[in-house]
């Protein structure tokens, strides 16, 4: 083992350090100087400070290029991890700005601190190929998210959801740790490359099979794939809107990326196949089952939802199913497709939650009936929400459509025979036809139904309007010109040599 090069380590971790320092600065400023101020002022100051910190981190990442790998992948840096970190930081900035107008808490400093700590967790998560660091950063992320979900102290539901999230999360972390410990015992290494080196040959060791399954359970929980999705509907519904948006966007990006890394680097020799009817044991059939279950369950259960947040939760489960397909394909292109998909998905979800939080603040709930006639009360917000929803449904020319198209193309192209994974792609496309039904129900409420009796202009904060409009423009732009995002992703994957 090489001696540790501390200056290099520090330099690599500088963006993360920036975020952590920002977190403490924000809390200090908030607690020392702003305690007497109105919560809106406190939120505005805290969020802008935090956003500045994140921007500095992004700038730092943009300015440092090149590759590094410390201690067998304990901390790595390459164009790809940089790209994902930038995506995560940008989503964090959006989340922070969305929360400026919220009123659910007086503990502003702590709230922003937790968001930034979660961001730090994600940044370490995507920049590591070592089981220990992955686990620790995953826990940092998860613990912050549990608390964020519970942050609305006045709402009993928020507590309940957070407790559910915590219990399920704790259990899945145990599974993950169990899987990791088996992997370590098996290969005597915590680095993904080292594990990969010992997993060779066609026969699958039963312990390895257990390790694969438990790892899939642990990470499947993070991405809310069926059947490990039970926390998602409650958390999406009851957590404060910015927390839910953060859980649904930023943390998805990080989790999917690391999931992809673990299976493609760590389990490279134990793939198996998901070609019907000749399943070969390995991680691919496990993920194929999860994907199929998520697509079916998410889309079918979403049909019955009356709360928009719950509907988004089930649609998130369905989208997790689609994205798992990209892992099955595990090619360079499919990684690009996955990243494109998850980023555009995160943008659309973030925007949807931003609109929901405005509507909720005025009408008291996210029940779909409260969106009736919204197009006449708040034309801009409803137009943007329509854009987000249609993008999730995969209607061109929005980003969601190209995401789906590219994803399915790469999945089919990943196997030598086109038909190998066709059954999953066909299922996915069929299920996305089903999904149009529930997405259209939301649009119907907004545009078709007459507004409730007391029609009054919906007061929407100007900042929220701007943010939502920016996100909507991004979704349209990425759909019309996918190359804007696809080109850097492909270039980064090429440069990182994955």
């Amino acid at each position: 083992m090489n001696p540790i090069n501390y200056p290099q380590l520090l330099q690599l971790a500088l963006p993360q350090i920036t975020v952590v320092v920002t977190a403490f600065v924000v809390m200090t400023v908030d607690l020392l100087f702003l305690r007497k101020q109105a919560s809106r002022v406190r939120f505005a100051v805290a969020a802008s400070l935090a956003a500045i910190g994140c921007t500095v981190a992004i700038a730092h990442i943009l300015l440092t290029s090149g590759q590094a790998n410390i201690l067998d992948g304990t901390l790595i840096a390459n164009p790809l991890t940089h790209l994902v970190q930038i995506a995560i930081l940008s989503l964090t900035i959006f989340t922070l700005l969305i929360s400026v107008d919220s009123t659910f808490t007086e503990h502003v400093g702590e709230y922003v601190l937790l968001i930034l700590l979660a961001t730090t967790g994600m940044m370490f998560l995507v920049a590591s190929q070592d089981l220990l660091v992955i686990f620790v950063s995953l826990e940092l992320l998860s613990l912050s998210l549990y608390t964020l979900a519970a942050f609305s102290k006045r709402s009993g539901q928020s507590w309940e959801a957070a407790l559910k999230y915590f219990l399920f999360g704790g259990m899945s972390a145990a599974f993950l740790l169990f899987g990791f410990s088996l992997l370590y015992g098996f290969s005597n290494s915590t680095s993904l490359q080292g594990i990969a080196a010992t997993i060779q040959g066609p026969a699958l060791n039963p312990f390895l099979a257990i390790a694969i399954v438990t790892t899939a359970i642990g990470l499947g929980f993070k991405i809310a794939a069926a059947p490990f999705h039970f926390w998602a509907p409650d958390v999406y519904q009851a957590a404060p809107a910015p927390s839910a948006a953060f859980i649904a966007s930023g943390s998805k990006v990080a989790s999917f990326f690391i999931f992809f890394q673990i299976v493609t680097i760590g389990f490279v020799g134990a793939g198996g196949t998901a070609t019907l009817p000749h399943l070969v044991r390995g991680w691919i059939p496990v993920l194929a089952l999860m994907a199929a279950a998520s697509m079916l369950l998410g889309n079918l259960v979403a049909i019955r939802q009356t709360s928009l947040r719950r509907l988004l939760a089930y649609s998130a489960i369905a989208h997790a199913g689609y994205m798992l397909l990209a892992m099955l394909a595990h090619t360079q292109q499919s990684l690009a497709a996955l990243l494109y998909y998850v980023v555009t998905y995160a943008l659309a979800t973030l925007g949807a939650f931003a609109v929901i939080s405005v509507v909720e603040a005025q009408k008291g709930s996210d029940h779909i009936s409260h969106f009736e006639g919204l197009s006449r009360q708040a034309p801009v917000l409803s137009f943007c929400l329509a854009i987000f929803i249609l993008s999730l449904a995969g209607i061109p020319p929005l980003a969601g459509f190209f995401g789906k198209f590219y994803l399915f193309v790469t999945v089919l192209a990943s196997t030598p025979r086109t038909a190998d994974l066709l059954w999953l792609v066909a299922l996915a496309i069929a299920m996305s036809a089903v999904s149009l039904y529930y997405y259209l129900r939301v649009l119907k409420a907004m545009y078709v139904a007459p507004p409730a009796a007391a029609v009054e202009e919906l007061r929407s904060p100007i900042l929220s309007q701007i943010l939502v409009a920016v996100l909507a423009v991004a979704v349209i732009l990425l759909g019309c010109a996918p190359h804007l995002l696809l080109k850097p992703i492909l270039a980064a994957i090429q440069a990182s040599g994955l």
Binding site: F405, A413, A433, Y437, L443, V448, L486
Partner: protein, 503 residues
């Protein structure tokens, strides 16, 4: 230049949002202006186009890493259908002159739909074609769900889901074809020239054909059409029957049959006497013709009569495609135009001239209203449109159906007889509807209408005259279209089809 039909429609839709609140008249004027501009461009391009061959309009790289291009091109078939879209767009605005409620949004959705339809007809890149094809769905849904009548939300949702399921099938087929051809290009020419294995074509052809066929009213997937047409506001019914159903038929011809010509070839064995997908779809088309006509015969709702007649007429198009001979295919394209004009006219009479005044479409309730005296223009228009739809010589329907029949006679003599039966039933249902609605015997003389029906307005008269004139021009001088349709069918693009079983 022709590409501006798309842009101008989209720009018009966007401009609707800039209009001041509650200015229905302004919105109407803007919509009419946009539609006329689109029509003018289409007509200019149509007149300048002589040869019928595929000419590129715009071609720029779009997503280079996937080989997807923004590639618009038009041949004789595209030009014909773009012109049809232009005509329907203008008359549709004329027949929606009475929209007052949320007029801006109405015309915004309307123009968005029109622009996307132009886009489908002009796309040469299949990814682009699919993008436009799917954009059509959403405005269609809102036009029906917001401004429709009878069970509008049900009708709109059914239509949206059927369309989306159809396009999902198309998407599976397109992605599979794109990947099988090496993921280098989604251009129609590239994929049409790629030698897909016969096995692949045998599977992909029915998938894509049915996917597009759903929108073309292919029996038994037609059930969205009558409910959707009936629920839709007049302009939307006109668009639906006039051009949107043509998108399906156009897709069948341009994508399914061009890409997978071997899928039409004979199977190794026969099932129920059917030896190929071609036989299967030909039989389904004939069932559609006869079934649609028979169901139209027993409807009580005036608009349902027209809705089912659409299913019947669309059957002719699909049957014409399945003849695979030049006269049958050309006839199918002619029928697309003819049905577009005539169905638009019929829906205009029923939806705008009659229903918007009487507020009922029950044939038994319309009879006593003595409509042929109250609104004689509507009665005359319906008689003309009905005669044309029956296939009276001198109108476009006659030429188109005759060509298709000749084509069918060459390939499926037995089916030609069944089609004859369908045509006879067609005469009967038009006659029945005409008599019950306009010339009923059961006159109640002592029923003075409390609110006299408003007379037929100028925009309505103008719209009806445009549509009738177009149908007569095509009927009297079909060469005006055939001169560019036939060379288009003889172009290299359809070589695969010709090699198959072109006679």
């Amino acid at each position: 230049m022709l590409a501006w039909t798309i842009y101008i429609s989209f720009l018009g839709a966007a401009a609707m949002f800039l209009l001041p609140k509650g200015s229905a008249a302004l919105a109407r004027a803007l919509a009419l202006l946009t539609a006329v501009a689109g029509f003018a461009i289409a007509l200019t391009a149509f007149v300048q186009h002589r040869t019928g061959e595929m000419l590129t309009i715009t071609r720029v790289p779009w997503i280079p890493s996937l080989g997807i291009e923004y590639h618009l091109a038009a041949d004789g078939i595209s030009h014909t259908l773009v012109l049809l879209t232009g005509i329907i767009a203008v008359t549709g605005v004329l027949f929606s002159w009475n929209i007052e409620d949320r007029a801006k949004e109405f015309f915004a959705f309307y123009l968005l739909l029109i622009g996307a339809v132009y886009g489908v007809f002009l796309s040469y890149d299949l990814f682009l074609l699919f993008v436009f094809y799917e954009i059509v769905i959403i405005p269609k849904y809102f036009l029906i769900a917001i401004w429709g009548s009878t069970r509008r939300e049900y009708g709109a949702m059914k239509l949206a889901l059927y369309s989306f399921i159809g396009s999902a099938m198309v998407l599976i087929g397109l992605i599979a074809a794109y990947v099988a051809a090496g993921s280098t290009s989604t251009s129609l020419g590239h994929l049409a020239n790629y030698p897909f294995s016969p096995h692949f074509q045998m599977l992909a052809f029915p998938l894509v054909f049915v996917g597009f066929g759903i929108l073309a009213g292919l029996w038994p997937f037609h059930t969205w059409a009558p409910t959707g047409h009936v629920a839709a506001p007049t302009a939307a019914s006109m668009l639906l029957a006039g051009v949107v159903m043509k998108l399906g038929a156009y897709g069948c011809l341009r994508v399914a049959m061009t890409l997978f010509p071997l899928g039409l070839g004979p199977w190794d064995h026969q099932i129920l006497g059917l030896g190929s997908w071609r036989d299967v779809f030909a039989v389904l088309a004939v069932i559609g013709i006869v079934y649609g006509a028979m169901v139209a015969l027993v409807q009580r709702d005036f608009k349902f009569v027209i809705g089912y007649s659409s299913v019947s007429h669309m059957g002719f198009i699909l049957l014409g495609l399945m003849t695979l001979n030049q006269i049958g295919l050309a006839g199918a394209v002619m029928q697309m135009v003819s049905h577009g004009l005539l169905a638009g006219l019929l829906f205009a009479v029923v939806g705008r001239m009659v229903y918007a005044r009487t507020h009922t479409r029950e044939l038994s309730a319309l009879g006593p209203m003595n409509l042929n005296q109250v609104i004689p223009f509507a009665a005359v228009t319906f008689v003309i449109a009905g005669m044309a739809a029956m296939g009276l010589p001198g109108f476009s329907g006659f030429v188109a159906e005759l060509m298709i029949l000749v084509g069918v006679w060459h390939t499926y003599p037995v089916l030609a007889i069944c089609v004859g039966i369908g045509i006879v039933i067609g005469v009967v249902y038009v006659w029945r509807a005409m008599q019950k609605a306009f010339f009923s015997e059961s006159r109640v003389e002592s029923l003075p209408p409390e609110h006299p029906l408003p007379p037929i307005s100028f925009p309505e008269r103008l719209g009806a005259i445009i549509l009738i004139a177009a149908s007569v021009i095509v009927g009297i001088y079909p060469q005006v279209l055939l001169n560019i349709i036939v060379p288009a069918l003889n172009s290299p693009l359809f070589e695969g089809l010709r090699k198959g079983s072109w006679q």
